[in-house]
C-alpha cells in the first residue's frame, strides 16, 4: 500500500546493462589469456612436455628454460602450458554436465513440487552430508583413478548444487504475478517453465558456474597431486606439484610455478563470478 516503492526484481538474462563491473572485465581478461596460452603457447616453445632428458634435470630458471626443468629434465614452462589445457578442460567439462542436469531437475522440482520435490530434497540432504572432496575421492576410488572418473563423479555429485539454487528461485517465482498472469492467459506448463521461470531463475546458477569452475580446478589438481586424478607422465599442475614435493629445498621452482598457475587461473574465474554477481544483483 505504499506509493511508489524503489525495489525491483533482479534483471533477467538478456537485460544487460552497458556498464560492466571492473572485476568481470579483469577476470574475463585473465581467463582469455589462459585460453590463449593453452591454445597457442606450446607452438612458441621448442621443448617436449613428456620426453625424459635426465642430462638437463633440475636446472634453475634460465634463458633456455624460463621456469627451469624438473627431475626428469622436462621444461617446466612447456608442461605448465600443456597443463593449462587439462585444467581448462576440467573447468568446462566438470561444470557443464552438473549445470545442465541440475538446472533441469531444479526447474522441474521447483515448479511441480509434490513428490518429485520431496525426493529431490532428500537426495540433497544426503549428498550435502558427505564432505564433497571425500565423496569424489570415494567414487574415483571405485572407478579407476583418472580424468574420466573425475568427470563421472562430479556429474554424479555436483548437480545438486545447481538443482538447489534453481529450485529455490523457482519456488519464489512460481508465485510471482507475471507467472500467474501467464497461467490465466492459458500459457502451457512447458512454455511457462522455459520462457517465464527459467530466464528469471537462472542468474544465481550462472554466477555459481564460475565459482564452481574454481572449485573444480582446485579439486582436480588436488586429485592429481594425490595420484588419483590425471596420471603422470601427463602434464597436469597438481601432478607437477606432487613431483616437486621432494625438491622443495633444492629445486623449488618445480612445485612453486604450477601452484601460481592454478591460483592465477582460479583467480580469473573467481573475478568473473564476483563481477557477474554484481551485474546480475545476486550474491556471489
Amino acid at each position: 500500500m505504499s506509493a511508489g516503492s524503489e525495489a525491483g526484481p533482479r534483471p533477467a538474462l538478456g537485460s544487460w546493462r552497458l556498464r560492466l563491473p571492473a572485476t568481470l572485465l579483469v577476470g574475463a581478461a585473465i581467463v582469455v589469456t589462459w585460453l590463449l596460452i593453452a591454445a597457442f603457447g606450446p607452438a612458441f616453445v621448442a621443448h617436449d612436455p613428456i620426453a625424459v632428458d635426465l642430462a638437463h634435470a633440475l636446472l634453475r630458471p634460465s634463458a633456455d628454460h624460463l621456469l627451469g626443468t624438473d627431475s626428469y629434465g622436462r621444461d617446466v614452462l612447456t608442461r605448465l602450458m600443456y597443463g593449462a589445457r587439462t585444467d581448462l578442460q576440467m573447468a568446462f567439462f566438470g561444470v557443464a554436465g552438473p549445470f545442465i542436469i541440475g538446472t533441469i531437475v531444479g526447474l522441474l522440482a521447483g515448479n511441480f513440487g509434490g513428490i518429485p520435490d520431496a525426493v529431490l530434497m532428500r537426495i540433497l540432504d544426503v549428498t550435502v552430508s558427505f564432505p564433497y572432496f571425500v565423496l569424489v575421492i570415494a567414487i574415483v576410488a571405485v572407478l579407476e583413478p583418472g580424468l574420466t572418473s573425475y568427470y563421472i563423479s562430479l556429474t554424479l555429485v555436483n548437480w545438486v548444487s545447481y538443482a538447489r539454487l534453481v529450485r529455490s528461485e523457482v519456488i519464489v517465482l512460481r508465485q510471482a504475478d507475471f507467472v500467474l498472469a501467464a497461467r490465466t492467459i492459458g500459457i502451457g506448463e512447458i512454455r511457462v517453465m522455459s520462457h517465464h521461470l527459467l530466464p528469471n531463475a537462472i542468474s544465481p546458477s550462472v554466477v555459481f558456474v564460475f565459482t564452481d569452475a574454481v572449485l573444480t580446478i582446485v579439486l582436480g589438481s588436488s586429485l592429481g597431486f594425490l595420484g588419483l586424478g590425471v596420471q603422470p607422465p601427463a602434464a597436469e599442475w597438481g601432478v607437477m606439484i606432487a613431483e616437486g614435493q621432494l625438491y622443495l629445498a633444492t629445486a623449488w621452482w618445480i612445485a612453486v610455478f604450477p601452484g601460481i598457475a592454478i591460483s592465477l587461473l582460479a583467480l580469473g574465474f573467481s573475478l568473473v563470478a564476483d563481477g557477474l554477481a554484481k551485474l546480475l544483483h545476486t550474491a556471489p
Binding site: 540432504d125 550435502v128 552430508s129 572432496f133 575421492i137 570415494a138 576410488a141 588436488s222 594425490l226
Partner: protein, 312 residues
C-alpha cells in the same frame, strides 16, 4: 516448550538422512571392482575363512538383503576388514580419529577467528582500503589450492626458517599444537575466504538495514548499533554456514594430512584408495558423513536457541 519439542523432533528427521548415507556407502562397495572377499582376506585365504566372510556379509544373497546385512553390521560396528593393515576397519579408523579431530578443531578455531576479524574490519569501513583488501582476499583465496599452500608454508617456515616441524603429530598437547600449527593454518586459510565473504556481505547489508537506521535515530552510537544490533543479526545466517564449513574442512584434512604426514583419517583415506583397500574407504566415508550430519544437527540446535523467530 515448543523449542524442546523441536530438539526432540530433529533427530527423527536425521534418520532418513542417515539411511541415505548408508545407502550411498553401500552402493560404493557394490561398485568395487574385484571380489570383496579377496580384498579383505588376500589371495591365500582358506576356504573356511572365505565361507565365514561370505556368510557374515551376506555376499551370496540378493542385493537388497546384502544391504540389510550391511546395516546390521554397521550397527554392530563391523565395517569389514582391512587387508593392508590386517585389522578390522573400525580399529584402524579409531586409531587415527584423534589427530583428525584435533586438526579439525584447531582449523575451525583459526578460521572463525580470522573470519570474524576480517569481516568486522571490512564491514566497519565500507569502501575503504581494508574493505577492498579483504574482498580481494576472498576472491583470490578461493582458488588457492590447499596442498600447494601447505607446501609453500613448509618451504618457508619449516625448511627456510625452521620454525615448525615438517610433519607428524606430536606427543604432549603443547607439542601437538606446535606440530599441527601449519596444517591447521593451511585448512583455515583454505576455508576463510568463503566464510569471510559471506559474513562481510551480511554485515554490510545489515548495517544499512532499517532497524540499524532506527537505532541511530535514537542516538545510539555506531559501535553500539554495530555490536548490539548488526552483529547478532549477521551471526545467525553465518552460523548456519558452519555445517558446510566443517564439511569443507574435512575435505581439507584429506589433502593436508597427506602433505604434512599427519597420521589421521584423511591420510588413511588417501592411502586406502591407492592401495585399493576399499573397506577402509567406505568406512572413512561413512564416519565423515556421520560427523557432518552431527555437526549440522548441533548447528541447528544452536540456531534455534538463538533465534526467537523460528516457528516450530
Amino acid at each position: 516448550m515448543d523449542r524442546f519439542a523441536f530438539v526432540l523432533r530433529r533427530p527423527l528427521q536425521l534418520v532418513p538422512v542417515l539411511f541415505g548415507i548408508s545407502l550411498v556407502t553401500f552402493v560404493l562397495v557394490q561398485l568395487m571392482p574385484g571380489d570383496p572377499v579377496r580384498i579383505m582376506l588376500g589371495p591365500r585365504a582358506s576356504a573356511d575363512a572365505i565361507a565365514a566372510v561370505r556368510a557374515r556379509y551376506g555376499l551370496d544373497q540378493p542385493v537388497l538383503l546384502q544391504y540389510g546385512y550391511y546395516l546390521l553390521n554397521v550397527l554392530r560396528a563391523d565395517f569389514g576388514r582391512s587387508l593392508a593393515y590386517r585389522a578390522p576397519v573400525l580399529d584402524v579408523i579409531l586409531a587415527r580419529l584423534v589427530p583428525t579431530i584435533c586438526l579439525l578443531a584447531y582449523g575451525l578455531v583459526m578460521s572463525v577467528a580470522f573470519t570474524v576479524a576480517l569481516a568486522v574490519a571490512a564491514a566497519r569501513r565500507p569502501g575503504a582500503w581494508v574493505d577492498q583488501m579483504v574482498r580481494l582476499f576472498c576472491v583470490a583465496g578461493l582458488g588457492l589450492p590447499s596442498f600447494w599452500l601447505g607446501l609453500m608454508l613448509i618451504m618457508l617456515f619449516s625448511l627456510r626458517l625452521k620454525l615448525f616441524p615438517v610433519s607428524g603429530f606430536g606427543e604432549s598437547p603443547v607439542d601437538v599444537l606446535w606440530h599441527l600449527f601449519l596444517p591447521a593454518l593451511t585448512i583455515a586459510i583454505a576455508v576463510t575466504p568463503i566464510l569471510t565473504r559471506n559474513l562481510r556481505a551480511t554485515l554490510a547489508a545489515q548495517s544499512t538495514a532499517d532497524y540499524a537506521v532506527a537505532g541511530r535515530s535514537k542516538g545510539l552510537s555506531e559501535n553500539y548499533v554495530f555490536f548490539r544490533h548488526v552483529f547478532p543479526n549477521s551471526l545467525l545466517p553465518t552460523i548456519s554456514l558452519l555445517g558446510i564449513v566443517v564439511s569443507f574442512l574435512i575435505g581439507g584434512t584429506v589433502v593436508v594430512e597427506t602433505v604434512f604426514n599427519v597420521p589421521g583419517m584423511g591420510q588413511l583415506m588417501v592411502r586406502a584408495v591407492l592401495l585399493r583397500d576399499y573397506f577402509i574407504v567406505q568406512g572413512v566415508t561413512l564416519f565423515f558423513a556421520v560427523g557432518v550430519v552431527l555437526t549440522s544437527f548441533v548447528v541447528d540446535i544452536i540456531t534455534v536457541a538463538l533465534d526467537p523467530r523460528v516457528k516450530l
